[in-house]
Amino acid sequence: MNASFNHPVLIVVVPLLFAALCPIIGLIRRSLVVWLALFGTACTSFLALSLIGRVTPGNDLSYHLGGWEPPWGIEIRIDTFGLLMVCVISTLGILLVLYSWKYMERELPANRLSYYYTLLMLIYTAMLGFSITGDIFNMFVFMEIFAITSYALVAVTGEKRALRAAFKYLLMGATSSVCVLLAITFLYSVTGSLNMLDISNTLAELSPDYIRVALAALVFFITGFSVKAALFPVHVWLPEAHSIAPSPVSALLSALVIKMGVFGIFRILFTVYGPGFANETANWKSLNEVVAWAAALSILAGAAFAIAQKDLKLMIAYSSISHIGYIVLGICLLSYHGTAGGFYNVLAHAMGKASFFLVAGCFLYKKGFRRIEDLKGLGRSMPISSGAFALASLSVIGLPPSAGFIAKWNILWGCLDSRKYLFAGVVLLGSVLAAVYCLKVVYYLFFTGPRMRDTRIEEAPAAMYVPAALLSLGTLFFGIFSGLILPSLNSASRILMIR
């Protein structure tokens, strides 16, 4: 590896630098901050995308922080999945900053805007770091950074209900972090290492005396990350936090932050423990089964709750629980198709759900509407936003030819592959339920309300509808051209299963 090749660490350092710059520049000229943030995310995105050719399945990109060899030093290790996360986070980052430009001007007093962008850059830093780090404690630190930042972001408007939602989120989030820390301690006490690969190697030949501790650690890890991912029994914090937060923050939380919990589950189950861990395959498999059941319940419960909602953003938030279920189910099917499908849904859901929240934000910004019933005929007065919503709902439902469909196809394929027909039924039922809640909104948007000629077009600012529309088109693009990503995800997952 070329020694001067520092992209992996720059992915974390650059947004951190911009996070620090934002309040300083904000003191000088407030209007510059948004451009600074845009520039920062663009740089990060460029760095992330430039890695695409360098990481191939089974051929991870490893970077030793400060030149310290692992397992002593912190290692940055980018595999295909990490790369996918990094690209999704950084690219979505640009669009969210762009969207925040107009939206947050109205939500926040001008003197606090620069702090908002600081938080935004900070949460990107943490999520990017979380996705690429190869060190388990480093992962915890990044997790805490994005967790604390997201509590703050939920409460950023200082609105009454937002504060309450943020506090609820904080209590559950902090408890789950303690679980993860405890699990790390357990794991360290039996393996004596913090590097993921090193732990994984030690675990493979763990002496039988320590197996119980390792299993306990696994359970604590899963519990902790499940809260962050908002899986079904521990999802209670999500609907309120995601629906009350300002729309770009909702989009950020739903599209990216909860994925971090999923990614944590994935890292622990597969990278750290792995199928062959110390001849405990049976236990490992049954734990997978348990998580898969929680995921299946999330799919159904999230969708059922979403149908019952009258508030648009609340509905979208519940739909996120359902989709997190898809991702986790795909990962826990123990079939490489399922894993690939799960990660494809990370991409599909990030785009689809972000677009949903951004469009909901457009409606709020322009009309102040939150309730689904108020959206009557908005398809005529706000055609681009509504169109983006309709297009994104294809992906959220999982109808062809959207990215959500490709994900669902692979997850279904994984269900068959591991002979879990019941889960296949759940996936299909989930998409029917998703059709109910998504099409209800599309119906109100386009097929009710006054006639076309009686309405004037009152679209939100371009800086708001363009990101939403781009994300919606993205779902379509990655649905048709799934060949760009899916094959490498497939082969990376296959390697994972063999190991």
Partner: protein
């Protein structure tokens, strides 16, 4: 000439209707005249692009084009075989008639209407040109979803209810179909349509084959309105505007049938279906559908509702023909795709003329209407005779072939179903014709002789003419019989 050629033509055909779509979006409100020209032009151009594929189709050759793909089974590819060409040609002709008719019929929300008409056209063509079950499913689902705006076009309470019912049937059907596709891929060789069986009894075992078959029948059966999955049809047809009903009944129901055709010939194959013994069950279901739907049709006073039930019955003729698993039966079934499209298309377009000119929907109010609309009701009469199966009409050819097919398959009792159905058809169609021409006061003030506008009359008469042309010039190359012969010849 090689057996397979690669050509960009299928893609052009599929995207040609988007010209109409863009036309609607660009000119829609500002220049109505230009927009109208684009609607008709786009549809006609599609028809013109389909025609050059005719020579290859007649020889049973195949045109292929791969679009995109990745991962297991995920492959978007186009393939024009004779069956696909036949269906696409039918689609294009029907669509052209419907679009011209719509120019006179549709008055409100035109932009949306033409946009979705064009989109549906494109997706239906996609179904016809699909090279594998995955592509077919993609276009099928899109078509399924985008039919909704056509059904609720009027935005009345009735239309909304019908639309809701439509979605309540279609979306679960889509999920079921997805299960079928993925199971087929899991247990079969490939999703591609190769004109032969791609799933094998020896590898998979009978129970799973039966499960996949039933799932497919459930999934496609909703569109093909096999009883008891027909529930949405009698509501959706009357609610939609007349040209949309004509398309719904004429071709969109047939998309479901087209899926079944693919399942029968390109997934299972005739031998396997015989070995599985499912054909008798399907025949019984189809027979029950034919008789029951005809009985339902008799009790309807709303003309379009009666026509809708008649469609339910007629589409099952095709199912009947397919599952007789005999050459003549297949010819009859496949022919009926086109024949029924033109007959039912004529009838629906006529019902639209009646509604547009007199505002009447109910049959009991139509006495003497033939004096006001002689040409329209003339076409209606021709199509009704076709439905009954009078010689020299398209309907007779179908029934004859189906009858021969039933004998070939050694299931002569299904001829009785055909005869009873003809009788019932006569019972529910002839009274309308009789009332229209021979009842009522000829000097009634409400009914001066006053034909409708040319835009609507021409498609009506053209469709009516086709009913006779297809019944008389049966074997002329290019008409359905020549193409269906090739399809059936390659299978049996």
């Amino acid at each position: 000439m090689s057996r397979e050629a690669i050509s960009i033509l299928p893609i052009l055909v599929i995207f040609m209707p988007w010209v109409s779509l863009i036309g609607a979006a660009v000119f829609g409100k500002r220049k109505p005249a230009a927009a109208r020209a684009v609607y008709v032009g786009g549809t006609a151009a599609t028809l013109l692009l389909i025609v050059p594929m005719f020579p290859r189709a007649l020889e049973g050759l195949v045109i292929r084009k791969h679009l995109a793909g990745s991962g297991p089974g995920i492959s978007l590819a186009l393939r024009v075989d004779t069956m696909g060409f036949y269906f696409a040609l039918l689609l294009a002709v029907m669509w052209l008639l419907a679009v011209i008719y719509s120019l006179g019929y549709i008055h409100g929300r035109q932009t949306r209407y033409y946009c979705f008409l064009a989109l549906n056209f494109s997706f239906c063509l996609g179904v016809a040109f699909s090279a594998n079950m995955f592509t077919l499913f993609v276009f099928y689902e899109l078509m399924s979803l985008f039919t909704y705006p056509l059904i609720i076009h009027d935005e009345t309470e009735v239309a909304r209810k019908a639309g809701f019912k439509y979605l309540a049937y279609s979306i679960p059907a889509g999920a079921v179909l997805l299960a079928g596709v993925i199971l087929q891929f899991f247990y079969g060789d490939t999703l591609a349509f190769l004109g032969r069986s791609t799933i094998h009894l020896s590898q998979v075992g009978k129970p799973i084959l039966l499960v996949i078959f039933s799932i497919y029948m459930l999934g496609f059966g909703v569109k093909a309105c096999i009883m008891p999955l027909h529930g949405w049809v009698p509501d959706a047809h009357p609610a939609a505007p007349a040209p949309a009903s004509a398309l719904l009944s004429g071709v969109i129901l047939k998309v479901g049938i087209f899926g079944i055709v693919r399942v029968v010939y390109d997934v299972y194959g005739v031998e396997l279906l015989e070995a599985l013994g499912v054909s008798l069950w399907m025949l019984i279901v189809a027979g029950i559908t034919i008789i029951t739907a005809s009985l339902f049709a008799m009790s309807q006073d709303d003309l379009k509702r009666r026509l809708a039930y008649s469609s339910v019955a007629q589409v099952s003729y095709i199912v009947l023909g397919l599952f007789l698993l005999s050459p003549a039966g297949a010819v009859g079934g496949l022919l009926h795709i086109a024949h029924h499209a033109f007959m039912k298309g004529t009838l629906f377009l006529c019902s639209g003329v009646i509604m547009h000119e007199t505002g009447k929907r109910n049959i009991s109010e139509m006495e003497g209407i033939g004096k006001k609309l002689p040409l329209t009701m003339g076409a209606f009469t021709v199509a009704s005779l076709g439905m009954i199966g009078i010689p020299l009409t398209a309907g007779f050819i179908t029934k004859w072939e189906l009858g021969v097919g039933a004998l070939q398959a050694h299931r002569p009792y299904f001829i009785a179903v055909l005869l009873i159905s003809s009788l019932l058809n006569a019972v529910y169609f002839l009274p309308i014709v009789y009332a229209a021409f021979f009842k009522g006061d000829s000097k009634q003030a409400g009914f001066p002789r006053n034909e409708t506008s040319k835009k609507m009359l021409v498609p009506v008469l053209a469709a009516g003419a086709f009913v006779i042309i297809l019944g008389v010039f049966v074997t002329v190359p290019g008409l359905p019989y020549s193409l269906v012969k090739v399809v059936v010849g390659s299978v049996f």
